[in-house]
């Protein structure tokens, strides 16, 4: 089973690759809307990628108010 740190690192890797930003520019406490410059529809495409990568379902109401990678990782971790 992944640790939460591993989950966080994989999220950061996926986000950097999907939105073509340098991996080293992202950290777990970043606001991903601001840091990636994405809107709600792009956030949904990230959610789709994350669900497929971690093989989980993440109801989007569980992500209400979640804007940073660390909390996102916590939500995913509870479903691994």
């Amino acid at each position: 089973m992944r640790t939460q740190q591993q989950t966080t690192d994989e999220i950061l890797d996926l986000a950097a690759a999907q939105f073509k930003v340098p991996r080293e520019s992202l950290s777990q406490d970043d606001d991903f809307f601001k840091k990636l410059g994405i809107d709600s529809l792009q956030a949904l495409s990230l959610l789709t990628r994350l669900e497929q990568h971690f093989n989980v379902e993440l109801p989007d109401y569980e992500l209400q108010g979640v804007t940073d990678f660390r909390t996102l990782a916590e939500r995913i971790q509870t479903r691994l």
Binding site: S40, L41, A43, T48, E51, E57, Y61, Q64
Partner: protein
């Protein structure tokens, strides 16, 4: 008219297949302009059917298949109207939309929705009129209407209930959550899942296979296996109009239309 280039949709008949493209920015919101052009398509359809075996509906926009009804247009077009007039306006719109959806649903051709990314609300309802849904891995589906105080109004629930189990319908309708293509295939909504950007290519391959079959036999098979739930569709219009007249719905629509939230799709 075997081809047409409009502002919201275009179509072309070639090699026995009609391809209907959606291309209204930002994400194929279905409003009266789209509806006008869909009605032109319906008028042209009988003249194309005898030359075609299949109809493919797809989006030319990267943003997705369709984000659904043009809620801003519905909201602003009813502002300032008396309640009864607003309800009558919405009912007239729904009657037109249902005529389009029901005609595509009953079309004797085999119909394929090739979808990607956002396939929400009315967009999902349009896909549900088709016989097959082919989706790429970016596809995401949702009935968000309850978040606005409404139920889906373009025939979504009766058609979804026709195709999949009631428990799943309740989950999707009552939580308003979005779901990915893996889930969509698990519940039987999507017939083929393909790599990102390949839904249209695979739909064309499937349509090409269909051209080998006798047109009348395919039409009879479809008619036999795909009943159209007209009674429930009528009831859906009535419920939608009743809900639309409630203050909570106006509040929900206003909140959505005026939202500057980064996640306006969430309740």
């Amino acid at each position: 008219m075997h081809s047409y280039k409009g502002n919201a949709i275009s179509w072309e008949l070639a090699n026995g297949v009609i391809e209907l493209a959606l291309h209204r920015e930002p994400c194929n919101e279905l409003g009266t302009k789209s509806l006008d052009e869909f009605e032109k398509f319906l008028a042209a359809l009988p003249g194309m059917e005898e030359h075609a075996h299949a109809l493919i509906i797809y989006s030319q926009l990267n943003s997705g298949f369709s984000a659904g009804a043009d809620l801003r247009e519905i909201y602003f077009s009813t502002q300032g109207m008396e309640k009864d007039a607003a309800a009558a306006h919405v009912r007239q719109l729904l009657e037109r939309v249902h005529h389009v959806m029901n005609t595509i649903d009953a079309c004797p051709l085999t119909t394929i929705a090739a979808v990607h990314s956002i396939t929400f609300g009315g967009g999902l309802e349009l896909a549900l009129t088709c016989d097959l849904i082919i989706a790429d891995k970016t596809a995401r589906f949702c009935f968000p209407e309850l978040r606005l105080g409404l139920i889906p109004g373009f025939g979504g629930i009766p058609r979804l209930k026709r195709d999949i189990g009631n428990a799943v319908v309740r989950d999707l309708l009552l939580t308003g959550r979005s779901f990915n293509v893996t889930k969509a295939q698990q519940i039987g909504l999507v017939s083929q899942v393909v790599a990102e950007g390949h839904a249209l290519r695979v739909a064309r391959g499937t349509a090409s296979q269909l051209t080998k079959f006798d047109r009348r036999t395919a039409a009879e098979a479809k008619k036999f296996i795909k009943p159209i739930p007209y009674d429930e569709l009528r009831r859906e219009i009535d419920i939608f109009c009743e809900l639309f007249a409630l203050p909570a719905t106006e509040h929900g629509l206003k909140k959505f239309v005026e939202s500057t939230d980064a996640q306006p799709y969430l309740p």
